[in-house]
Amino acid sequence: MPEAVGVSMKEPSRGYQLRVVQEVLLALLAKEASHGYEVRARLQLALGPLAEALNAGQVYVTLNRLEKAGLVSSARVGQTDRPDRKVYELTAAGRARVMEWLADTSWPKPAPTEFHLKLVATAAAGLGDPVRLVDAQRHAVLAGLAAAQRAALAEPDGSVAGLLLEGVVLRLQADLRWLEACARYWNATKERS
């Protein structure tokens, strides 16, 4: 999974994200055997408002896949007044996969290479004004920052999901600082030519 830093060789694909969801569900099962809805509740607590984008069925679909892959096993627990509930448990292979994931130091979105190359190409080919592209991009990132910040402000003190939102806010601030540097560079280039 770790890619060469700088040049992303693939789109942020569905497969990549699904693989991480598998790892996450396995890790959430590591403490004790649990029902699907308990796993989902733990995930939602950790993600707070970010969980809203999560597909409700994804947890159950993924648990099924993990079972087929031999990473979890399940047992049916009878209930008197409702249908049986399925309790999932990590297998030895599942536990090994969790440990592998914990030791993996790969990191998301290492460098804004694609946008950088877009600016270089725009300037070189005279396709437009790179500074304008930076302005538009900055607004798109700021819209994300606004959403994350509002969500962060709405979290109660000490919320674990608030910590994640703080991470989103800080990364976007760093992106915006870099976009400012882009604007300065391409503005200066324009004035030199």
Binding site: Q17, P49, L50, D135, H139, A140, G144, L145
Partner: protein
């Protein structure tokens, strides 16, 4: 791009038409603002961003009647203000417009409460009413326990919160803030940010000129300036949950 087109004109508290400002003359002529069309809706928070020298502070000065335009018009709540007499402008600045500056501009020899009272007293409100209003505003900015402190005994963030309370003293039609967090550390910035977010929620019309992305991100709408003109406009308050999921890399 025309900011007016995205807003119902009738609801605008503050509006400009063809606003221009030039400094110097001959070869040294600098056009600081070029044909700016702006409308700020009632209850809206608008952030204006741009690099140093882009004209954003000049814009704020013209909007608040601190300077006069070279050409164009400024309308506040249906009244044209760019041609008012100095006396009428001074009255406007005391009442209808609240200012917040980067360097706070508090009176050093007055306490926090006295600073906040001052605009109400200057506007002719009875001292008792002015005092009550100041206490209420200091409470609102979380500084009720600092009311009798001099500015020199307050932190930068506290001073700015006093300045924000002062700006609200006469229930202004609009608050104009120029780099309100420019002199603050990140913890104090967060306090001011929460305060602006609260003002927005309470329906205060607010225009913030800033470099600070976090402050700009509290706005309903964002405008970027470059070389004295508007270059980009974005509405920041709608459809946020999809954006959040994308940011967290959860979709798919």
């Amino acid at each position: 791009m025309n900011a007016n087109e995205s807003l119902p004109r009738a609801g605008a508290v503050l509006r400009t038409r063809g606003l221009e400002k030039e400094y110097g003359q001959g070869a040294g002529l600098v056009r600081a603002l070029d044909a700016v069309e702006l409308a700020v809706a009632a209850g809206e928070t608008l952030a204006v961003m741009g690099p140093s020298g882009c004209g954003k502070s000049t814009l704020l000065h013209l909007l608040g009647g601190l300077e006069r335009p070279s050409a164009g018009e400024v309308w506040l709540q249906g009244h044209r203000i760019d041609q008012l007499s100095e006396k009428a402008l001074a009255r406007l600045r005391r009442g209808a417009v609240g200012f917040v500056f980067q360097a706070f501009h508090l009176m050093d020899e007055l306490t926090a409460a006295e600073n906040v009272e001052l605009p109400a007293l200057l506007a002719g409100r009875p001292p008792r009413a002015a005092r009550g209003r100041a206490a209420e505003l200091l409470e609102r900015v979380g500084l009720a326990d600092r009311a009798e402190h001099l500015p020199s005994a307050l932190s930068g963030g506290e001073r700015q919160r006093v300045a924000i309370a002062r700006a609200l003293s006469n229930e202004p039609l609009i608050v104009l803030a120029d780099e309100p967090t420019g002199n603050l550390d990140s913890a104090a910035t967060l306090d001011v940010l929460r305060l602006f977010d609260g003002l927005r929620a309470a329906g205060q019309t607010l225009l913030i000129v800033t470099h600070d992305a976090r402050i700009a991100a509290t706005a309903d709408r964002l405008i970027s300036m470059r070389d004295g003109a508007f270059v980009e406009e974005t509405r920041l308050t709608h459809g946020t949950s999809g954006t959040l999921g994308e940011l967290a890399g959860l979709e798919g």
